[in-house]
């Protein structure tokens, strides 16, 4: 008896959660492809929902997580709207984004001077409807992204309808998140003879409207354009 009432209660709660989540929908519910068919396949909307945040978690340097985030950003920019990169300490290298299906004039690079300016610039960029995607390293500017700022960014993305791509260290994993999708990225060593492929193991930690963790393996071709080549 007890177990049955418990399961009923759980069901009620699940419905309640679904109802609450259902009420929380960005104005434009279209989605934009992640740039990877395999990743799209495990996302409920076959891509990232516009007007949401996506967290890319990765451990250490050189993991290639930003490459994946930029692939998604460049896909989102196919609409012709702008891409804002809130760069960290001036080390963003624009030629790397060249040739990924984005026009030079679409790219706006912002160099904020401190955490407050960084958060503000990201907020403003997400809030603007002219921005298709904003890429940022919110934890690089001294201190982790705090919950209130995170929530504000999420609301900003919802208002602007663009995609907020936040590249974060894996240490952020236990922290609460306002992102629609959380991905943990881990690089895999290359196995091909010519080394043209780059491979990752991507763990879908959380996704609104989807079941528990899913693992997917992605790869891109370094020589051809990642976005065009990988399908």
């Amino acid at each position: 008896m007890v177990s049955q009432s418990l399961s009923v209660r759980i069901e009620v709660l699940r419905q309640e959660i679904a109802r609450l989540e259902g009420g929380w929908r960005p104005r434009k519910a279209q989605s934009s492809s992640s740039g990877f068919r395999r990743l799209d396949a495990i996302l409920p909307k076959r891509g990232f929902r516009n007007g949401t945040l996506v967290e890319w978690l990765a451990e250490g340097e050189g993991s290639g997580v930003a490459t994946l985030a930029f692939a998604a950003a460049c896909r989102a920019c196919r609409s012709g709207r702008g891409l804002v990169v809130v760069a960290r300490n001036g080390e963003f290298y624009p030629p790397a984004v060249a040739g990924r299906g984005i026009e030079p004039a679409q790219l706006i690079v912002v160099h904020p001077r401190g955490k407050a300016d960084h958060d503000w610039a990201l907020d403003q960029s997400l809030r603007s409807a002219a921005v298709a995607a904003a890429v940022a390293w919110p934890d690089a500017q001294g201190g982790m992204l705090d919950g209130r700022t995170f929530r504000r960014l999420q609301l900003a993305a919802e208002e602007g309808g663009g995609l907020g791509l936040l590249i974060r260290p894996a240490a952020a994993r236990p922290l609460p998140s306002w992102a629609d999708v959380r991905l943990l990225v881990e690089p895999l060593p290359d196995r091909s003879p010519y080394g043209r492929r780059r491979r990752w193991k991507v763990l879908l930690l959380r996704c609104r409207g989807s079941s528990a963790e899913r693992l997917v393996e992605l790869e891109i071709d370094d020589e051809t354009h990642p976005v065009l080549g990988l399908r």
């Binding site: 340097e61 490459t67 060249a98 030079p104 002219a130 290359d190």
Partner: protein
Amino acid sequence: MKRILCLAFDKKCEIEFLARWCARFSPSVGVEPSPPAESLLLDVTGVAHLFGGEAGLGETILRELGAKGLRVQAAVADTIGAAWAVAHFGSKEEGGRRKAEGGAAGCQLSVVSCQLSADPPRGCPADHGPQTTDLSSFILHPSSFLLVPAGQTLAALRPLPVAALRLPAAVVLLLRELGIRRIEQLEALPRRELLPRFGPELLEHWDRTVGRLDEPLPVHRPGLRFAAGWSPEVPIARREAIEAGLAELAGRLSEMLRRAGLGAMQLECRLECTVGDPLEISVGLFHPTAWARHLVELLAVRLERLRIAGPVRHIRLAAPATAPLEPRQQELFEEGGGGNGEAERSLGLRSWVLGLGFQTQDPRPETQGPRTKTPPASPQPLAPLVDRLSNRLGQDAVVRARLIPDAQPEMAYRYVPLVKRRRRLPQSVPLLRRSSAFHRLSTACSKQWHTAAPRPLRLLATPLLLPVGRPGHHAKHGRLRFSGHVHQIAKTWGPERIETGWWRGQAVGRDYYRVETTTGRRFWIFRNLRDGLWFLHGVFE
């Protein structure tokens, strides 16, 4: 023979306003920017008889300016230079000399009217006799009018100091060091010695002043001025009140701009406080706008970072630089319906076309064609965002990347501030497109933008020296220490040899390798060909 009237004001004043006001005396009015303060130049050739001769003209001008509370030194002469020189230096010199000589006659300057209070046409007999030209009083009552009769320019100039030739300070100083203080001393020097010793400027100014060279009048074309001011009844200190005042002014300004079909490219706000210096805020805009709310937002962001010393007694808002808004046929059922929003949305559309579609000299017509011709389905204004970001973070912090065809990785791009570039080229798009230099640049960028070997997303500001076990050891087989981690290199691709920079005097020879660690992380390292040292330059993030 030309006749030029110069008005020298004793303090900085609204010169553009006065220039417009002076249009009642002469069809061509110029503004001479030489220090100490700007002066006005009026071409009065063939005009003077309308005012009863040059003397009458001078009297009229002095009287009317006096009624405005302005003190002015005026002079009429044959050339711009002479009029300027006599207006600025004539009265003092003349006054001093006359005083020394005890009012001896025989000078070339005819003093027509010296005091406004003793103004004959008004017929108000003042304390001083109407025509008693007590020249020593010039210094006390500085409004004066000096007339250099036609053809006597040189004679009038001789006693004046050399600075009257509008020379650069360095030249004046040099002349003074040589003991040459007056123009007559300069005149006595052999002409061919002047050029090598004092540079071409001296001769040029000298020739222009005496009329050997023609000098065009820098005619002031009175553009429309967009400014609004507000003085509260009592000085206000609360920020909300100040912002409300600003919003009111911005509304007025935007209305003025809209009527003229212009948008502000620059915004200047001046807050005069009861204590301390006035606060000045200057905002550059990415794109011309006449949207009051946007203007207020930009100002408010700057205002909240300023410390206002005391209550504000006057606020002035001006748009010193403007550019035309392009007309657009309005939609019948515009979303939102607000008057301001409409105009701005039309701007947004245009900024879209010009801001994001102009670099389209691209060899892929099938993908590029439609974007330039028809803007995306729901164009949104990017300009307000760029304005807001540039305004708070600084113009250099909000940039667009321009790729440079340079083999050296760190030289292969340049950041161009978005707002600054717009301000330098305030014309509308078609002009930008037509400009050949711009066209060349944009085509160069576009071509380059699509060709590149794999490049890392993160390029270290300065390459990091990699410690290598023994000399000559090949780092690409070794370990790589970066930000606290040691990575074992498993694979390498390369080298990509880059030898360049010799032509700018900083020859660079590097062999770049892409390396992958055992955990699949990728880095970009290079060996310096000069000394064989290894560096980490980029991270394939």
